[in-house]
């Protein structure tokens, strides 16, 4: 990353620490008053109950650098902020679902509100940065939830994480915390957290 480029905001969930308490997802739903059935953030457990193989991680929009959702959107409702947060305009979104097909994390959510299960406008994690409407306006809050970033606050999920497994911040800072933890452990070196540089890195 070149120095003149602004720091990119990133999430990272340490699966060594995540205990599937769902604090993040409940805090998120509560903070943004989401309808039930819409999970902007969700804790996922793999191999549940299998000795030595069970692990949990918290998944939401990863705010990818090469955001596939943004590439496939037929109405170009996505925009990427200078700090790397991937947001979208619900007034432009037509609920086609293409972003969901493109997303490697299953982040886009579609409230099922219409008859015959019509999809409404897509909803996803905003990293608590609201949307394109006037910052902290009632309209923004209604459509996108709280705008904590504008208030200088940490996104709700990470603030509420009980074991500080979920961390958020500029890529540099998060990588530093990540490296410190790995160094303290002295084992289990990973090159980089999942889904960071590229959503699809093949």
């Amino acid at each position: 990353m070149s120095n003149n480029e602004m720091a990119r905001m990133k999430f990272y969930c340490d699966d060594q620490r995540c205990i599937e308490c769902n604090g993040c997802s409940v805090a998120c739903a509560e903070a943004h008053e989401l309808p039930t059935g819409v999970s902007r953030r969700k804790v996922i457990t793999l191999n549940e109950g299998v000795e030595g193989k069970e692990f949990s991680t918290s998944v939401a929009c990863m705010h990818c650098t090469d955001a596939p959702c943004e590439q496939v959107c037929p109405v170009d409702c996505f925009y990427i902020r200078e700090d790397g947060i991937v947001l979208h305009d619900k007034d432009v979104c037509i609920g086609c679902g293409y972003c969901l097909y493109a997303c490697p994390f299953g982040a886009p959510q579609f409230p099922r509100d219409g008859a015959f299960g019509t999809k409404g406008a897509m909803d996803k994690c905003t990293m608590c940065a609201g949307g394109p409407l006037e910052t902290n306006s009632a309209h923004e809050r209604e459509l996108y939830g709280q705008n904590r970033i504008a208030e200088g606050k940490v996104p709700m999920c990470a603030a509420m994480c009980s074991t500080k497994a979920l961390i958020v911040g500029s890529a540099d800072e998060v990588a530093k915390i990540y490296r410190t933890r790995i160094a303290a452990k002295g084992k289990g070196v990973q090159s980089a957290p999942y889904g960071w540089s590229k959503a699809y890195s093949n």
């Binding site: 109405v75 409702c77 432009v92 490697p104 015959f116 299960g117 999809k119």
Partner: protein
């Protein structure tokens, strides 16, 4: 025909009932279904879809939208339309049932194709309410097409089965590249019409199914999963890719169909309105059928 109607509605109902079941995409199923993280089990459909949708689909549709009419314009200018006498005898070709079914399908297509294009190029329309309305229209038109597609498939299938004439027809491209009025080897329907028939019915059904998959998004139909072996998200991705691919074919052939009916063969469109074709037109363009009718003494 009531049976078909019932079946079509029933399948719709089934889809929405299945929808009420647990989510196949989110909640607990999310990670099982959505292979991110470069997991080996992934079929790579996510990146494939992203690549195609981001770089090719809209471009190809644009090419079809401009290219196909351009070719026909050239054809019209260089070779020109075929003109047949409308004063001669007429041959009864399409029953009233044929015509109603066709007309419903035609109207559906007239809605489906522009709305489809508007969605594909949604960004140029600014997205939002207008495009969303087009999306809903697209869905509604699907219902009317869905109702007639099976009757249409059944009522013409006998005449649409391929035969030797089709190969000969293909060799001379239906005689459309020459201005001569020479009998063209073809039955009641020529190879071009047959292609259109198969694409419009079978392709149309694929379009309906893939479209419905994307529309309902989150449903749980065990049979679909066991048959395809795909997770829900990959099913959706396959649906999106197939929908786009067949969309291109259908659109290209639809344009051809319209061109033929309206421009290339002057007045041909009347046959699907009145049910009667011009005898001369049949004699030249459907020579085998003409001979057959003659033999049977129907003319």
């Amino acid at each position: 025909m009531k049976k078909y109607l019932f079946l079509s509605i029933a399948s719709l109902f089934l889809a929405s009932a299945a929808f009420a079941a647990d989510s196949q995409i989110w909640d607990a199923m999310r990670i099982q279904n959505i292979y991110g993280y470069g997991q080996v089990e992934s079929l790579g459909l996510g990146p494939l879809f992203t690549m195609l949708q981001a770089n090719y689909f809209a471009q190809i549709f644009l090419a079809v939208l401009i290219g196909v009419p351009a070719v026909f314009l050239l054809h019209y200018l260089v070779i020109g339309p075929k003109v047949f006498s409308h004063d001669g005898k007429k041959i009864y070709a399409f029953s009233i049932f044929n015509r109603i079914v066709h007309q419903v399908a035609a109207i559906s297509f007239i809605v489906l194709i522009p709305t489809g294009f508007i969605m594909t190029f949604g960004s140029y329309f600014g997205g939002g309410e207008f495009v969303r309305m087009m999306k809903d229209l697209h869905g509604i038109a699907t219902i009317s097409f869905g109702i007639v597609v099976i009757p249409m498939f059944l009522m013409w299938i006998k005449d649409m089965l391929p035969n030797f004439d089709d190969i000969k027809w293909m060799m001379i491209v239906g005689g459309y590249l020459s201005k001569e009025k020479k009998p063209v080897p073809a039955g009641k329907f020529n190879a071009g019409q047959k292609s259109w028939y198969w694409i419009a019915t079978l392709g149309g059904m694929v379009m309906i199914l893939t479209g419905a998959t994307m529309y309902f998004l989150d449903f749980d139909i065990e049979m679909v999963r066991s048959m395809t072996g795909l997770s829900q998200i990959d099913l959706l991705r396959v649906a999106a890719i197939l929908h786009a691919f067949f969309g291109m074919l259908v659109v290209a052939l639809f344009f051809t169909h319209v061109y033929m009916a309206v421009f290339a063969i002057k007045g041909a469109i009347h046959s699907i309105i009145t049910g009667y074709k011009e005898e001369e037109e049949v004699e030249i363009l459907h020579s085998s059928w003409y001979k057959k009718l003659k033999k049977e003494g129907k003319i």
